[in-house]
């Protein structure tokens, strides 16, 4: 345990999320699908900041951010403005970023997360829209490279910033928050989490008695937890040596898993925010009802419905709804296999585990295979052990269940074959048989295991159990 409650950990996050399902960038018609493209092939005068170019706002970007804000229970502001945030880095060719400052699009929301000590509400301070800067490529480590190479393909992508109140109490809670946020964004269909750089996080963290440290440049879910853990250990070590933590901005080095100090950084007033004169104010109140009506079923509501409609456990419902595609997968399977409990168990406990173990997601497993497997299980054609084996075979080698059953000889074996295996096992293990007759129940488990071994796991354990007991009692 690297931290405890008494450390007085306070964490707030600024999460940047690309609206990467849009057809075009935020202020120009360039395509945001640059991930496999050559550098500097998705640009135009607007996103290159050439003189005289003017931004025009993408309407769907605004519809999407309103969806996000509503899903996060925010209040949408009557009037919202874009501002220029002035700073002079080559990742922004204009010398400023179009962002929001006063009058962001939405304020005051909340997300429910499973935190320390149960369910907690993490408050959302604001949600605003801005343009993504370009991607910088450094030759060698960032501290020692002498110059940067710039790819403007990302420049001008629609980016949402979600800012939390300092409500998070542990690195794990921070990760839970990000998972919950990602899940909502996925359900809203505004965000593809699989694309590189789709989500980036800046984290503010302080420990009891210390100043607030900002950690920038965290670009993965796992990175957030790791960067924060590193900071806690670093700050505790400094405190132990009597060194006072002073406010600073640090950079997270994902490869090395450490944070390093950034020598100087602009303070907020250095950004000289002022309203962007090239964009007109936005008033979106009249669209809210229509957009609210178009919101899909969100994770929390879907979880509750699963518990009610399918009578599965809250735990299973939580696991299954934690990914949109997994939830869809479950509903497809449950509609074909007339036993939601069985479907939930096999999807949430078995399949999900096998996928996680291999670092795969649910798209690696077609629902029709799961339907076939569960139907064979229900009609007692295969054992549970064989079902697991089929799932593993599909993931490791491919193929479809009926063919795998045939190829690997997984059809459940007949009772008379089990009976002869039982007879053999009883003959071969007189000591265990005696133990059982003397009242040692564990001996039965041992004998069952021997029968399963002899039948290569293809015997129905219930039948094995029944036959063993019969034989042991009458001989």
């Amino acid at each position: 345990m690297k931290y405890k409650e008494s450390d007085g950990i306070v964490i707030g996050l600024e999460v940047h999320v690309q609206l990467n399902k849009l057809n075009s960038k935020l202020f120009c018609g360039c395509s945001p699908r640059y991930h496999d493209a050559e550098p500097n092939t998705h640009t135009c005068p607007v996103c290159l900041g050439l003189p005289g170019a003017l931004p025009v706002l993408n309407e769907d970007a605004i519809v999407n951010i309103i969806k996000v804000a509503l899903a996060l229970n925010c209040k949408i502001e009557k009037q919202t403005l874009f501002y220029r945030k002035n700073y002079y880095y080559p990742d922004l060719p204009k010398g400023f970023q179009i962002s929001q400052y006063d009058y962001p699009i939405a304020i005051g929301g909340k997300i429910k997360v499973n935190g320390m000590g149960g369910e907690r509400h993490i408050r959302i301070k604001r949600v605003h829209m801005e343009e993504d800067p370009a991607r910088l490529v450094h030759k060698g480590p960032i501290e020692s490279s002498r110059y940067s190479l710039i790819d403007y393909n990302r420049s001008g992508m629609a980016l949402i910033e979600v800012v939390t109140e300092p409500d998070l109490r542990s690195p794990k809670e921070a990760r839970e928050f990000l998972n919950a946020l990602r899940n909502i964004l996925e359900y809203l269909d505004v965000f593809d989490d699989s694309l590189d750089g789709a989500l980036r996080v800046d984290a503010n963290i302080s420990l009891a008695g210390g100043a607030r440290i900002e950690v920038k440049n965290i670009s993965s879910y796992k990175g957030v937890e790791k960067a924060l853990l590193f900071e806690i250990v670093r700050q505790k070590n400094l405190a132990r040596r009597g060194i006072k933590i002073t406010q600073e901005t640090r950079h997270y080095d994902e490869k090395r898993g450490v944070t390093t100090s950034l020598r100087t950084k602009e303070e907020e007033h250095d950004y000289r925010y002022f309203p962007e004169p090239d964009l007109v104010p936005l008033g979106v109140c009249n669209r809210i009802d229509e957009i609210r009506g178009s919101l899909p079923e969100l994770p929390d509501i879907r979880r509750q419905r699963f518990v009610q409609q399918y009578e599965i456990s809250d735990y299973h419902a939580k696991v299954i709804t934690s990914e949109l595609r997994l939830a869809d997968f479950f509903e497809t399977v449950a509609s074909e296999v007339d036993n939601p409990l069985l479907s939930a168990t096999w999807i949430a406990d078995v399949l999900k585990g096998e996928l996680n173990y291999r670092g795969l997601d649910i798209t690696a497993f077609p629902p029709k295979h799961m339907i076939q497997i569960l139907q064979m299980l229900r009609s007692k054609k295969i054992t549970e052990k064989s079902a697991v084996q089929i799932i593993r075979t599909i993931l490791d080698e491919g193929g479809a269940p009926p063919e795998i059953v045939k190829r690997k000889g997984l059809l459940k074996i007949e009772e008379n074959i089990i009976a002869s295996a039982v007879a053999e096992v009883i003959k071969e293990n007189p000591a265990a048989v005696q133990d059982f007759r003397n009242g040692k129940n564990e001996a039965l488990h041992f004998l069952m295991g021997q029968v399963m071994k002899k039948t290569h796991g293809r015997a129905d354990p219930n039948i094995v159990n029944k036959l063993l007991r019969e034989k042991l009692q009458c001989t």
Partner: protein
Amino acid sequence: MITKRDVEHIGWLARIKLTEEEKSKFAKRFNSILDYFEILDEVDPDVPPAYNISGLMNVFRADVVRDSMSQDDALGNAPKKEGEFFKGPRVV
């Protein structure tokens, strides 16, 4: 009142190196600009701020892709480049 130190800071923000002579010169000029802005002090402070003078609201474009520039055209105006990239000063 803009001091030489303010000018130094503003120069740093713009990533411009200034000579001592330039610092004094710009301090003087910045102060005269600030003096000029004092005219605004005569305005009634209760007047609501004008964020935009066009009187327009909600100007959008549809989410439609348009052709981008070629890589050659994009890099054509770059003062410095390396391969397929623009080249700029190190950040951070």
